[in-house]
Symmetry: C2
Subunit: 209 residues, 2 copies
DNA sequence: AGTAAAGTTGACGGAGCGTCATTAGTCTGA
DNA sequence: TCAGACTAATGACGCTCCGTCAACTTTACT
């Protein structure tokens, strides 16, 4: 046939189904994890929720753990652009901190919206946990952003690794508690974290350890 | 025999063996977890390390998860007295914060001493993680201590739940990074955490949200 | 159309689980 | 001291889930 025929579009049914299957497994896993919790779910539980056979699962993932990491990784991947926007639009150190926390807490709330509405304490916090390469990338990105923004504002950060760790620690733990409150206390958590970190940093800057 | 003989001591071989078996299982579990990691270990791996039979395991624990919780619970139980001492001896808010962080980081280092020395990244952080009743008790204790110490110092804490969460978040995340450094940076982590939290709190106190 | 390559299927052997009938050890009372 | 009652240890058993693989189906290419 005409060799010019299909240059790009539908460049292969193969690839299409592959992507579709992967997504089907991920979607099924989200459902099952949310319904019965991570520990209780088996690979078969996940695959049963799709129209694939058990063996097929292993063409895509090695284990349910790997599925979980993929889900977490996607969360991280969805969050990074927001972080980038925050960095680009921040015009002061304070604004950066506040916007970054606001972005994280908003994201966290959105990711757990379903779990929140049906009152299921199951699988709370599917958003952003565990140690994946993506998580490390986010750590590094935040650290770099902090250094950059601080430099612009002529602020000394002290130990930027420790500062980043602290900022993330606050976000994580505070985020957990924020999600427990009804209504979810986005505004309060953001204000609290921002003030705490910002003023703490100023003190560290003033008294460089 | 003389009925006065054994009033308290060795009040029963039954109880003795029971306690001994429980300890044997916990000790074996520590070893195996450290050697091959939590995920990879099976109940049989643990019991094989003792001279007990597989069925006996289930007289003491429901699963390896429960063993892990018991180990974590023991860590928490060992840490609480230290926390109490800190509270009792602190004569100012700042001193309390510093001593509490120092106590935690010291404890964390000690708990992971073995893992640190043999360079095994396996099962890092056996000290204090997961969600057990003991962990919640520690959260509550810290929260109460903070409130009490703050009151004595006439400092407003703002939202004490959020503050406690933040303090713990900083400790956890900073602790992780502290353990990565060689030599383990106890002093630096303590100073950093103390300054950050202390000055942050002062700011929140000044500007009660 | 014919063939190679890629992907899917589900049945199968194996690993680990938790139980339970049996056995061994400890305690109590006379 | 000993019989009988009771508590705990044992390990074989049935079961669930795992990961693999030979057979089969679908897609790609010429």
């Amino acid at each position: 046939m005409n060799s010019i025929a299909k240059p790009v579009a539908a460049s292969g049914k193969r690839a299409k189904t592959k992507a579709a299957n992967r997504q089907a497994i991920l979607a099924a896993a989200r459902q099952v994890f949310a319904r019965i919790g991570f520990d209780a779910t088996t690979v078969r539980d996940i695959i049963r929720e799709t129209d694939l056979a058990s063996g097929t699962f292993y063409n895509y993932f090695k284990s349910k753990e790997e599925v979980f990491e993929a889900i977490a990784g996607e969360s991280a991947k969805r969050f990074r652009p927001k972080l980038q926007t925050v960095r680009e639009e921040a015009s002061s150190f304070e604004e950066y901190i506040r916007a970054a926390y606001a972005a994280y807490f908003t994201f966290l709330k959105a990711e757990n919206e379903e779990a929140i509405s049906n009152g299921a304490p199951h699988m709370a916090l599917i958003g952003v946990r565990v140690d994946t390469p993506e998580m490390h990338a986010i750590f590094d990105e935040i650290r770099t952003d902090l250094e950059e923004v601080a430099k612009s504002a002529n602020i000394s950060l002290g130990d930027s690794e420790y500062l980043t760790a602290s900022a993330i620690g606050i976000a994580r733990e505070l985020g957990d508690h924020m999600l427990q409150r009804r209504p979810v206390d986005l505004e309060g958590a953001t204000r609290f974290a921002t003030t705490l970190l910002l003023e703490g940093v100023k003190a560290i800057a003033a008294r460089p350890n």
